[in-house]
């Protein structure tokens, strides 16, 4: 500590406002916990012990339990963490923590708590800029170097970067841009930020606010695939059948409220409980929701129930839209002597296009191939003795007459299945831990063909390049027993399938391909670990290109792109001209490389020169000393 000299009088004279202590400095590492039990002074230590146990996954520097004059605690606590990221983690993990029946914690960052306390009655979005006519919302598509963007949320900052091959450049960066998280729209036009009072959509060259939607307490959002509508969900309203406010469908062009729905009370395990509750058809024409024994299909833009009634399907367990056509697949379990059934039907005429009877079914998972060419049903079945479970796959071919179906049966446990987005291949991770392996199959003329089984490629998630062919098998750090350490296997599925690179990004918990299929991003999130959070960019074949450690990194997502405007003939023509392009890009790269490296080289040269001077001097001095 600093020694203080002089008298109190000196002090008073010298003090100015600027010298006043800054109280806010460490607010970022502090959280306020509400709904803490109120206890008397005797039980204070016990409460402190309990709380420290609950918060034991972070390093608590200080736990403050304010007391009344009588010594009773006031029902809230201040927690100071060692780091900002840990405070964020505390909020993430303990907000909504049920200590007992009566006490469910509300955990807020101190800094945000102050924001809330200081909030004006009327909500104003941060950094409001007027929307300028002509601010093209697709401006980012005009990047002549074919760069893509990504958003990273870290600590209080939301950053949008241009991804260059081996570096990045900030496109926009704002503090407290969102209160919870942010989401790209499906074609990348908008960045949606969530706030206490609603959502805001941002876009254009200057990241102006395009639209504001007021829906207090918004928790979840879901865009329609063509960005015409958005559905928002809040759990702040007790539902009033006449004026529901839980789930609202909005028109994105006008911001108009199109229709509201009550939040059907569904227990988390029940069918249809997973967000999004309302699933969109590929063309934004319909959105549908699973209810008991029925699917409700709504039409746009009228927002009315198709045929004015729910489509009854007794015992329906799950449904899924085709990504390319207005087809719905669904399944119903066995009932008495009636077998279980998988059905594909067309909308709006509700014609059954195909159906398949299945026996001894425990569970089904339906996965559409991205082009809608194929649909896979993974079926967990009981053996005859009902003691064991085996899996088989029914693979429907939508583009062929009568929708034929191939079968594949596997005796081992299945951990993941994923279609190649643009082709006929699929990958399966299977086996009993610790002997987890990965197999690649292809739908060929003569049925399902095993391309390759890699017994040394283990993982828990499959990520295909959006352009097909290349695939990453990742062992992500995820909640649950299947968690792994961050292993990454980059696989080329051409010909016999080969491993291009086997590597790891320690503790990475998420992985995303860029929209061009050239890059892969692996993310270490503060939700899983506090060490070395950030993201890395790899080439599609597993070469590490960029490494960014960012304190308190929550998540990172590539900005999606709309489908290309190029026709097949355009691409054919372009491919024929690749020679020309190749030499053009080669020259361009060389130039920009030279430009970028010139600066670096100049700096190195300077360092080398001054180093050589230094060494010369040292050697001269040494020689002189020897002479003496």
């Amino acid at each position: 500590s600093m020694a203080v000299e002089g008298t109190a009088a000196d002090f008073e004279l010298n003090l100015t406002e600027a010298d006043a202590p800054v109280l806010d400095e460490r607010l970022d590492n502090c959280v306020i916990v509400q709904n803490v039990p109120k206890v008397s002074a005797e039980r204070l230590d016990k409460l402190r012990e309990v709380l420290l146990k609950v918060f034991s996954f972070v390093k608590v520097e200080q736990l403050e339990l304010p007391q009344s004059d009588e010594g009773k605690t006031l029902g809230f606590a201040f927690v100071e963490c060692a780091e900002r990221a840990q405070a964020a983690m505390l909020v993430e993990k303990c907000n909504g923590y049920k200590l007992d029946k009566k006490h469910t914690f509300t955990v807020t960052l101190m800094s945000e708590f102050n924001d809330i306390v200081n909030t004006a009655e009327e909500w104003t979005a941060p950094e409001e800029k007027p929307y300028e006519e002509g601010d093209n919302l697709q401006d980012w598509l005009l990047n002549e170097n074919a760069e893509d963007q990504l958003v990273v949320r870290h600590a209080k900052m939301t950053s949008i970067y241009w991804n260059k091959r081996e570096s990045r450049r900030v496109a926009e960066e704002r503090i407290n841009w969102t209160q919870t998280y942010c989401v790209w729209s499906p074609k990348g036009t908008y960045l949606a930020t969530l706030h206490k009072q609603g959502i805001a959509l941002w876009g254009g060259k200057n990241w102006t606010r395009i639209l504001r939607i007021s829906h207090p307490g918004v928790k979840m959002i879901n865009f329609s695939p063509n960005e015409r509508y958005i559905v928002t969900m809040s759990d702040e309203f007790p539902d009033d059948a006449k004026d529901p406010k839980s789930i609202i469908v909005w028109d994105l062009k006008t911001g108009a409220k199109m229709r509201a729905f009550p939040s059907l009370q569904i227990s988390p395990n029940e069918a249809g409980a997973a967000w999004p509750f309302y699933k969109w058809s590929h063309d934004d024409k319909y959105f549908a929701r699973l209810t008991k024994d029925a699917i409700q299909i709504y039409e746009t833009p009228s927002m009315g129930l198709l045929d004015k009634k729910a489509y009854a399907i007794p015992n329906i367990m799950a449904f899924s839209w085709s990504p390319s056509d207005n087809y719905i697949s669904y399944w119903v379990p066995e009932e008495g002597s009636r077998p279980a059934k998988v059905v594909i039907m067309s909308v709006p005429d509700m014609q059954e296009m195909t159906s398949k009877a299945l026996y001894s079914v425990k569970d089904c998972i339906m996965t559409w191939q991205q082009n809608g060419d194929h649909m896979c049903v993974k079926i967990d079945r009981y053996t005859k003795s009902k003691k064991q479970i085996f899996t088989n796959f029914e693979l429907f071919h939508l583009r062929e007459k009568l929708i034929p179906c191939d079968q594949l049966e596997l005796k081992t446990k299945i951990h993941a299945f994923m279609w190649e987005p643009t082709g006929k291949k699929f990958a399966i991770i299977h086996g009993e831990s610790p002997r987890i392996m990965t197999s690649f199959y292809e739908l060929q003329e003569n049925g399902v063909t095993l391309l390759q089984e890699f017994d040394k490629v283990a993982g828990n998630a499959i990520f295909w390049s959006p352009r097909g062919r290349f695939c990453v098998i990742a062992g992500l750090q995820i909640p649950g027993p299947m968690s792994m350490g961050g292993s990454l296997a980059f696989i080329d599925t051409e010909r016999e399938c080969s491993i291009m690179t086997q590597t790891e990004h320690s503790s990475c918990s998420a992985l995303e391909w860029d929209p061009s299929g050239r890059y892969v991003m692996s993310v270490v999130s503060v939700f899983r670990t506090s060490i070395d959070t950030g993201y890395q960019v790899w080439s599609f074949n597993g070469r590490l290109l960029q490494r960014h450690m960012m304190e308190g990194c929550f998540e990172a997502h590539w900005r999606p792109r709309p489908p290309t405007l190029l026709s097949k003939t355009d691409i054919k023509k372009l491919k024929a001209n690749m020679k020309e392009y190749n030499s053009q890009f080669e020259a361009q790269d060389k130039l920009s490389q030279t430009k970028a490296s010139d600066e670096l080289l100049e700096q190195r040269r300077k360092m080398q020169r001054s180093w050589e001077e230094y060494r010369d001097r040292v050697e001269r001095e040494y020689a002189e000393m020897q002479e003496q």
């Binding site: 005009l142 002549e144 372009l574």
Partner: protein
Amino acid sequence: EEHQANLKRKLLIEERREEMEAELIEERKRLAAEAAAAAEAKRAEESARLALEAEARERRRKERELEEIERAQALKKIEQLKQTAHGQRAFQGFTEDELANMDADAIMQRQVDQLEKDKREAQAKQKALEKKYDYLERAKRLVEIPKLKQYWID
């Protein structure tokens, strides 16, 4: 008197004879013992020689065995390598005899060299692949830009 003297002499002669006989027996015993010791020594020498020879034989046998094992390992290694693509390339142009005479270190060195070469080739191939995909994407985007602008006007 004379008789007494004769008796005495006789007794003496008897004694002498007994003495001589005893000496003779002793002498024979000594000779026999010597002979036995000599034989024993000879036998020991012989068995030591045999043991040495056996040891040498054993050593030679072990050496041969080791050699054989090494050769077998070398052959096995070559056989194994022949199954792999890089192994086939590494031993291209070698006759069976030449291969048979290579020792394990040489095989290892060839393998290491071939693996390094393969690695370099694979890296070059991957780099070329990266370039190909990058250039294709960039070409597509360049062609798309005027189309996007036209699309917005329409």
